[in-house]
């Protein structure tokens, strides 16, 4: 599936994602009110092969959410709504709309690193994580996934999310970073800071997934720097059951999806297994 924030804010975006050959789609993180997001530049490539973005959670708000979900279901895709909020109430409100629209799962964005009051401000405090997950989980039996990022407390926060009723964890979000143009001496992103994604964060994602799997063996959706089957396979071995593609979708997305799937298939059989499931968390075996 795609990582949240890669398109997914309008029905048209869902149609586009469907054309990439993904089995499931995750919407852009929705907040209650529409958000304009930041002015460009909002996403650029880094010289280290990664991307950095500060989109500012631009989204059309809950009013448009039902149409977006409907489009996903219409296209036969497992449709996961990414839910954002700056308060418990907002999380609950957006989740309620998502559930009413028929979302197959909710992914709570507890980890956006560049929007004050949203995301990481919440996700790095295990108590907050518990409360938000608990409140949303109790709304219905639809599976709730908690998306966490890197912080000093990610293992604890993961535990709290599971305790609060999360059926799975999505790990990780982008990592706080910055780029400065050396000629104009100015930060490039309009927001000054942003979240780094892509290959630079992959080894961080592998560690986070490994640590959390080791502690709780939960279902994990691995995301961060997947650019080929090898980077995907590493996350599986660390403990991820499902995977999301983020910034790599900026380059030949359809081919990317195909080649990751095909590479993984070959890999599984080369290692003498039949299903990817058999390889989940295998790196933990002594």
């Amino acid at each position: 599936m795609n990582a949240s924030g890669i398109l997914g804010a309008t029905p048209e975006h869902i149609a586009k994602l469907a054309s990439y050959g993904l089995a499931a789609v995750v919407t852009k993180t929705f907040t209650e009110k529409p958000r304009e997001g930041y002015a460009p530049p909002i996403i650029i490539k880094l010289r280290n092969c990664g991307y950095i973005n500060a989109v500012g959670l631009a989204n059309p708000g809950i009013e448009l959410l039902p149409q977006v979900v409907r489009k996903g279901k219409e296209l036969g895709l497992v449709t996961i709504v990414s839910v954002g909020g700056s308060s418990l109430e907002e999380f609950v409100k957006v989740s309620t709309v998502a559930l009413d629209s028929g979302a197959d799962m909710l992914e709570l964005n507890l980890s956006c690193p560049h929007t004050r009051g949203y995301g990481l401000d919440i996700g790095s405090d295990p108590t907050n994580v518990y409360e938000v997950v608990k409140a949303v989980s109790s709304l219905s039996s639809t599976p709730v996934i908690a998306k966490l990022g890197v912080s000093d407390n990610y293992v604890k926060s993961s535990g709290k999310a599971l305790e609060g009723g999360a059926k799975a964890l999505t790990l990780i979000n982008t990592v706080k970073a910055m780029i400065i143009d050396v000629y104009s001496a100015k930060p490039i992103l309009s927001n000054v800071f942003g979240g780094m994604s892509g290959p630079p964060i992959h080894p961080i994602a592998v560690k986070v997934v490994y640590d959390v799997y080791k502690e709780y063996e939960p279902e994990i959706v691995g995301v961060g720097g997947i650019v080929d089957w090898i980077s995907a396979a590493e996350l599986i071995l660390a403990g991820a059951e499902a995977l999301q593609l983020g910034s790599a979708l900026s380059t030949k997305p359809r081919e990317l999806v195909d080649s990751v799937l095909e590479g993984l298939k070959e890999w599984v059989s080369e290692l003498g297994y039949t299903r990817i499931k058999d390889l989940v968390g295998l790196a933990h075996k002594k």
């Binding site: 924030g5 890669i6 398109l7 997914g8 804010a9 309008t10 048209e12 975006h13 149609a15 586009k16 469907a18 054309s19 852009k28 997001g37 002015a39 460009p40 530049p41 909002i42 996403i43 650029i44 490539k45 880094l46 010289r47 092969c49 991307y51 973005n53 989109v55 631009a58 143009d181 050396v182 000629y183 104009s184 100015k186 490039i188 309009s190 892509g198 290959p199 650019v227 080929d228 089957w229 090898i230 980077s231 910034s247 790599a248 979708l249 900026s250 380059t251 997305p253 990317l256 080649s259 590479g263 070959e266 890999w267 080369e270």
Partner: protein, 267 residues
């Protein structure tokens, strides 16, 4: 399996350079006409050669990043023709020679221009911006071409020939009838296509003009170059989506066949 051992996003393929912000130094930044200005810059590392109607996201340090079509390009420099509209283009107009800006691109899909195609290029409004580079490219592909340039009033005009090479003929159409053809570019187009045969028609300009163009050239091989709100240029943010389609202008466009976007043009 070994062939793809390296990350796809390794910097070795030119495709990937196009997402970096390449610093560039301003050569000059001049007024062309009452409506248009032209800026010529020197990229501080080599760019991937753009093919029309590809565009760049032009970063005005500390202010904005705006999509601009390539007006001219050679190995040492790249030029843009632009109209001052809001904060971004205004800040751009203030950059003196020696200042720095950033270039992300070329972005978008090249037009598929077949060797020797006889082509009609219809431009209106700020659609004139990419004209010099489109015609340069057409010439390099051995295509005969004619240009129709429609403006509201005479003062918008500038000597297109001075920034353009190989132009065979420019038909000027003014809405105030002050010069050349009296009327809209699309009306002149209707007249020309009924008289001559073109393998390819390309339209660049405001939505209304492009809609008319698609109508008057229906049945022909017509591409229209659109504008939407481009924020990332990379196919990630979705701001450039064409409503009611699954097309992203920044990766699937900015040129589309009339059939693909007729519904959008009508809205």
């Amino acid at each position: 399996m070994s062939r793809d051992w390296f990350p796809r996003s390794g910097d070795e393929t030119p495709h990937e350079h196009t997402h970096l912000v390449t610093p560039a130094r301003v050569y000059f930044n001049n007024v062309l006409s009452s409506r248009f200005r032209m800026i010529k810059v020197k990229p501080l590392r080599s760019l991937v050669t753009p093919k029309p109607p590809q565009f760049f996201m032009v970063w005005v340090p500390g202010v904005d990043e705006i999509p601009l079509s390539v007006a001219d390009y050679d190995e040492k420099s790249i030029s843009f023709i632009y109209e001052v509209k809001g904060a971004g283009t205004n800040a751009l107009s203030k950059l003196g020679s020696g200042s720095y800006l950033g270039l992300k691109g070329p972005l978008g899909k090249p037009l598929n221009i077949v060797e020797g195609f006889s082509t009609l290029l219809v431009v209106g409004g700020s659609g004139v911006a990419p004209t010099p580079y489109i015609t340069k490219y057409l010439a390099s592909r051995g295509c005969r071409f004619e240009v129709i340039w429609g403006v509201k009033k005479r003062s918008e005009l500038f000597n297109l020939g001075s920034v353009m090479s190989g132009v065979e003929y420019i038909h000027i159409a003014t809405e105030d009838c002050s010069v050349g053809y009296c009327g809209m570019a699309s009306e002149l187009t209707r007249e020309l296509v009924s008289k001559y045969k073109y393998d390819l028609v390309i339209g660049v300009g405001p939505k209304g003009m492009l809609k008319s163009l698609c109508e008057v050239t229906s049945g022909l091989n017509t591409y229209v170059v659109l504008e939407t709100m481009v924020k990332c240029g990379l196919g990630l943010c979705g701001s450039c989506v064409l409503p009611n389609t699954d097309k992203l202008l920044c990766v699937d466009g900015p040129a589309f066949r009339c059939e693909e976007v007729m519904q959008y043009l009508r809205t």
